[in-house]
Amino acid sequence: MYYVVLAVILFAIGGAAVLTRRNAIIALLGVELMLNSCNLVLVTFSRMWGNIEGQVFAFFVMVVAAAEVVVGLAIVVAIFRTNRSASLDGANQLKH
């Protein structure tokens, strides 16, 4: 149960980081934190119910997270090159 509480706290911290921090790198860190909190929940539930499906899903999530960070960091680097800043608010060109 404590694991779940910890995971919720981690998720909230990660969410807050994504929503409030302007730096894209920190935002990506927040995303990682949220994914990890999910992993923690998956592993916890896997232990609670005594099967390993949750752990398998946790591996999948790690793979997706790794892929996501690769793409995300590439985008951040590209944005930084054009904007000379990694600020998320400066990169609202999608609107136009």
């Binding site: 994504v18 929503l19 998320l88 990169a91 609202n92 060109q93 136009h96």
Partner: protein
């Protein structure tokens, strides 16, 4: 009532009688399409078309005269118009003595009026268009009288309405003329509603609108159905024939060129209502209350027109009021049923001649007097325009019922018929009809004396000088022909038995016994007529006619304003109608438009709001997602509990 004869298929000339409609219609279409290219000869084409119609009609007439009277009702299907399963409506013509009479009257008088118009409209740049409309008018009227069902009749009925609108407002650059045309059209539409409703009732009750079908069905129909059909048909006739309470357009219709007035008053438009009443005789035979209503409407209009005619100073408006009154006689006769129906048509034919004659005469006077119509500015025109004077005299004597002229035969019979019946009716109808004969004599004499006799009241020198002169031959020849008709037609028709000629179409005439002996009626009528003429003589020849109209009594003033009919219509129908329209407009503006535009504006506003959410900031999108997830979770949890 001995019933009318069954129809037989048409043959010979009768089977091509539809050409009477087609030729002028084609000519009208051609003249309108070909445009200015035909300016120089278009009117001759128009006259040729009208004459061709007359020739076809005359050929059919010769054929009909040769047939025994029980074969004189002929039907010919020209075109299967609306085929729908077992049911079909045909564009079919019916030729019988009644439609034959109208056919000859319309084509003959119509052609004369065409010829007259060549001279009258000589200087009008739009003469070709005028002739196209005249052709269209004649074609519509012929379709109206030739149709063998109420629906075909209705097509002609509407065509006549359109043609009258086009012609009354022919000089549409003058606002009053345009308004007059519109007024005629709208008042006619009110009547047309009656016609439509009557047809719908017929259709739902009998499943057909052909004359034969309706006449067959009406015999077994309930009296309520018959009365309803009768009353709605009467409404239609009131609109077309300018009968009370839809008569107000007729006076204003004088705005059109004078030949149009002659055509409307003599041969087409206003006679259509009488035709409808007589044609629907079988319906009125079943419903005595509807029939009585026709007679009452006729009697009211009869008096109304005569009173208005006695007060007007505008020469054409006097003639218009006189038409109203004379058509009132015909409606009264039609409303008397078999006793009078044939005489209604008799009077219609003679009236067609003498009224056309007088209108053309009035046109000649206008031609001579720079389009002046106020009789107070005339006087003594006899020596300047002897031919017009002589022809007008014939028409005038005919209309007042001078013994042995046209009007005498037809009107006297109507007065006799009006004295036939039971209870109060003969006394009221007969009394009014007889009284109005005196009034007719008065106002027509007033018109005649003020124009042609007494002192000359116009200037022959100075800036407003008039130089009256006789009209060209194209104008006076038709007048002479019509004058001859005014003199002798009544006698001739009486001799050849016009009433029995109509018998196959409208049934036999009942010979009722008038409540007074016939010689007494005739004598009294003649005395009244003489009194009317004498009174007019004393007032307008023995005394000088003042140039400005005297104030006059209350009745005179009321009559000058058409007995306040316009004011009445305006107050009772127009103002509430406009109020209703205004309130509907308000509801439309704020209610309907408000709702529609409100939805539109709401969508735009909502779109703006939602659009503002699309700000391009990745973090706000993440925020929406988080918010969405929270909401979704709350909903999921809430639905669990």
């Amino acid at each position: 009532m001995s019933s009318a004869v069954e129809a037989v298929p048409a043959s010979g000339a009768a089977s091509i009688v539809w050409l009477c409609v087609a030729i002028p219609l084609l000519s009208a279409g051609f003249l309108l399409v070909a445009g200015k290219a035909t300016n120089s000869w278009g009117h001759w084409l128009s006259i040729a078309a009208s004459t061709a119609s007359f020739v076809v009609a005359f050929a059919a007439f010769i054929q009909m005269v040769g047939l025994p009277s029980d074969q004189r009702v002929m039907d010919a299907v020209v075109y299967r118009w609306i085929p729908a399963g077992d049911f079909s409506i045909d564009l079919a013509v019916r030729l019988d003595p009644l439609s034959m009479t109208f056919l000859l009257l319309v084509t003959f008088v119509g052609t004369l009026i065409h010829i007259y118009s060549v001279g009258y409209m000589k200087h009008d740049p739009e003469r070709r268009r005028f002739f196209a409309y005249l052709n269209f008018f004649v074609a519509s009227m012929l379709l109206l009288v030739l149709g063998n069902s109420y629906l075909v009749l209705f097509v002609g009925w509407e065509g006549v309405g359109l043609a009258s609108y086009l012609l009354i407002s022919f000089w549409n650059h003058i606002p009053e003329n345009a308004t007059a045309g519109k007024k005629a059209f709208i008042m006619n539409r009110v009547g047309d509603m009656g016609m439509l409703i009557a047809m719908m009732i017929m259709f739902s009750a009998f499943g057909t609108v052909t004359f034969s079908g309706v006449n067959e069905g009406i015999a077994t129909a309930s009296s309520g159905t018959a009365t309803a059909i009768g009353i709605f048909l009467l409404l239609a006739a009131c609109g077309k024939s300018a009968q009370f309470p839809l008569q107000a357009w007729l006076g204003d219709a004088m705005a059109g060129p004078t030949p149009v007035s002659a055509l409307i008053h003599a041969a087409t438009m206003v006679t259509a209502g009488v035709y409808l009443m007589v044609r629907s005789g079988a319906i009125y035979a079943v419903s005595s209350s509807a029939q009585l209503l026709v007679a009452i409407i006729g009697a009211i209009t009869l008096v109304f027109g005569a009173i208005v005619g006695s007060a007007k100073d505008d020469m054409k408006k006097v003639l218009a009021a006189s038409t109203m009154s004379q058509i009132g006689y015909m409606m009264l006769a039609a409303g008397l049923g078999p006793v009078g129906a044939a005489f209604a048509i008799f009077h219609l034919v003679t009236h067609g001649f003498f009224k056309a004659n007088m209108f053309l005469g009035a046109g000649s006077v206008m031609h001579a007097m720079n389009d002046e119509v106020d009789m107070r500015g005339f006087g003594g025109l006899r020596k300047y325009m002897p031919i017009t004077w002589a022809t007008f005299l014939c028409g005038y004597l005919a209309i007042i019922g001078f013994p042995f002229l046209s009007g005498f035969y037809s009107k006297d019979k109507i007065i006799e018929a009006a004295f036939t019946g039971e209870g109060w009716q003969p006394w009221v109808f007969g009394g009014l009809a007889m009284l109005v004969a005196g009034l007719t004599a008065f106002y027509m004499s007033r018109l005649f004396f003020m124009i042609f006799h007494g002192k000359e009241r116009f200037a022959t020198t100075g800036p407003n000088a008039h130089h009256p002169h006789e009209a060209p031959a194209s104008m006076y020849v038709p007048q002479i022909v019509l004058a001859i008709g005014s003199l002798g037609l009544g006698f001739a028709l009486n001799q050849i038995g016009f009433v029995s000629w109509l018998e196959p179409a409208i049934g036999g005439v009942e010979h009722g016994e008038p409540v007074l002996p016939v010689p007494v009626i005739t004598g009294l009528t003649l005395v009244l007529i003489a009194a009317g003429v004498l009174l007019a003589w004393r007032m307008y020849v023995a005394q000088d006619v003042p140039l400005a109209a005297p104030v006059g009594s209350g009745l005179t003033r009321a009559a000058r304003r058409d007995l306040y009919q316009d004011d009445f219509n305006e107050a009772v129908f127009m103002k509430p109608g406009m109020g209703l329209a205004a309130s509907v407009a308000v509801v439309d503006h704020y209610g309907v438009d408000g709702a529609v535009e409100g939805v539109g504006k709401g969508s735009v506003g909502l779109g703006g709001l939602v659009g503002r959410l699309q700000n391009g900031y990745a973090r706000s999108y993440a925020g929406y997602m988080a918010l969405g997830v929270v909401v979704a979770l709350i909903v999921a949890l809430a639905s669990r509990i």
